[in-house]
Amino acid sequence: MKNILVIAWRETRTYFTSPLAYVVIGVFVGLSGYIFWTHLVLYSEFCLRYGGSPYFQNQLNVNDRVIRPLFGSMGVIFLLMTPVVSMRLFAEEKKSGTAELLFTCPVTTAQVIVGKFLGAASLFVVMIGVTIAYPVLILASNTSPEMKPTLVGYLGVFLMALSFLSLGLLISAMTENQIIAAVGAFGASLAFWILPWIAESATITLAGAMNWLTFGLWEKLHLGLGGPTLGDFLTKLSFINHLEDFRKGLFDTEHLVFYVSVVFFSLFLTQRVLDSPRWRG
């Protein structure tokens, strides 16, 4: 545990002693702040215009009108910016030779990976932490957002960012070229992001696919051809779909388990990748 913290702390310091952290945080706050502001202005205009109308009364919810779209935009910004944060994690160590130091010190590969992951995650904590100012700013006006759904939304965005980060960490462990690490991480994240678009056209059922793979044996065994389609399955793997409930303020363990699994699986694969020279000999 001590080793993990030592590595995580060094990683955090590296981000914050280089311009990287400030550029990333600055761009993130700038973009999300602008989006927040436009939504807030739209909302207040909406309130002024239709505030008196009983028909629109139930649509004038600040959580739905301002905070929910804000979380959606944050998700997109994280999709685009996480590769920049994750690309250097292992690629740089390999390139500069410091990997040789880390892996000849009395620490395990798993400790190094978790340490690096936590170090980079601390940057995300700061990024998201700064945006807590937005709901607080709304509080300063005479309307007040509901706090619990807001916090659930934050949790969702944070979990999704960690999933992107873990994918980026995995790809960074595969190369010593930071640009390849960044492009690969972006591609992987985007692939998970756009899965629902592919899913729409994937109408074949899973059982049908199995039937095709087993040359009709599946049907002969009367295992049935109905049930969920491949599209349903792919939709379950999509990063945005799992964010949807969080944004609404709904806390469902299904989505929590999804993001946590992505993180664990990616970190596990990272460990396999880094240790593979050991069992390949």
Partner: protein, 313 residues
């Protein structure tokens, strides 16, 4: 302290290291000597657990590097060929980071870091960014990082590369000061370095150990004949034959470079210099220079690499 048995590393079909075995006992300074690409770095990487051997075992302080990596790594200080430094860190925090990773207790941290800074002469740069330091100071930071935790075994891959002559001397002094308490393995392709710092030499060539000897036996090699270099002012065609007639002289060669230069090979047991001088005076050759030629470590090394001298491995 270090026991290596049949260590092999294959890269595809090519054997970078082909089944080498040796052991180094406590307090020794052993030098790995070999041409570029001989497998020195790969061997060191296997000793430190960075590269996994294809077969064979390496034990450090009684712990197998593959089976008990954490225990073995605790006892090793390692300076790779390119010093592993985080360029964006300041020297002292970097050393504290490495000390923490190497398991130095918090209470001793400051003392250990101070000691390493002092031993490697890093005092004047302790507060500077590593990336801004000169190559020599970076090399010293690399060395400081390796000795921080007072390891039983120090593995140094070309520790004096890129340093200026006075720094090289300081680093060699430093390495020598480790003898006795630490076991040191250093690799180099500079022969003088081995002569000056090591008490044992392992010559590696093409992934195999070509020789494994103490410095004394190494120097004693090739001592069956003596050589004398001569330089004469007046040389006639007959001169060569006349030298040959001196008792004890086995062979005479004309040196190509300079007029009147000869190398005389004589029996090892006899010193014929006096007779040569006498003859030179009586014949009026005009003796300008005469000096004994000792066979240098360089000759022995090149001989071993080329396979002319039988290795004692």
């Amino acid at each position: 302290m270090i026991e290596v048995a049949g260590l092999t590393k294959m890269y595809g079909q090519r054997a970078a290291v082909g089944g080498i075995s040796f052991s180094v006992s406590k307090g020794e300074i052993a030098g790995f000597l070999g041409p570029n690409g001989a497998g020195k770095t790969t061997t060191m990487r296997m000793l430190t657990g960075y590269v996994t051997p294809t077969s064979g075992t390496a034990r450090v302080a009684g712990f197998d590097v593959q089976d008990a990596p954490i225990e073995a790594k605790r006892r090793i200080g390692y300076l790779p060929e390119h010093p592993p430094l985080y360029r964006e860190m300041v020297v002292r925090p970097f050393l504290r980071f490495v000390a923490a990773l190497r398991g130095v207790p918090r209470k001793e941290m400051d003392g250990r870091v101070d000691r390493a800074v002092e031993r490697c002469g890093l005092g004047p740069v302790a507060g500077r960014l590593i990336g801004n330091l000169s190559k020599g100071y970076q090399q010293r930071v690399g060395l400081a990082q390796a000795i921080l935790h007072e390891p039983d075994v120090l593995i140094l891959d070309e520790p004096t590369v890129g340093l200026d002559p006075s720094q090289i001397r300081e680093i060699r002094q430093l390495i020598k000061s480790f003898a006795g308490e630490h076991t040191v393995i250093l690799s180099t392709h500079i022969l003088a370095e081995v002569t000056m710092t090591c008490n044992r030499v392992l010559i590696i060539n093409e992934g195999r150990i070509a020789a494994d000897e103490t410095m004394e036996t190494m120097a004693a090699r090739g001592g069956s004949t003596r050589r004398v270099a001569l330089r004469l002012a007046r040389v006639a065609d007959a001169t060569e034959g006349q030298i040959r007639t001196i008792p004890g002289v086995l062979d005479v060669k004309r040196e190509d470079g300079q007029d009147g230069s000869f190398v005389v090979e004589t029996e090892g047991a006899r010193d014929v210099r006096e007779q040569i001088a006498e003859r030179a005076v009586t014949q009026g050759w005009g003796l300008l220079e005469m000096r004994p030629v000792t066979r240098s470590l360089e000759d022995i090394f090149i001989g071993i690499i080329k396979g002319e001298v039988e290795g004692a491995a």
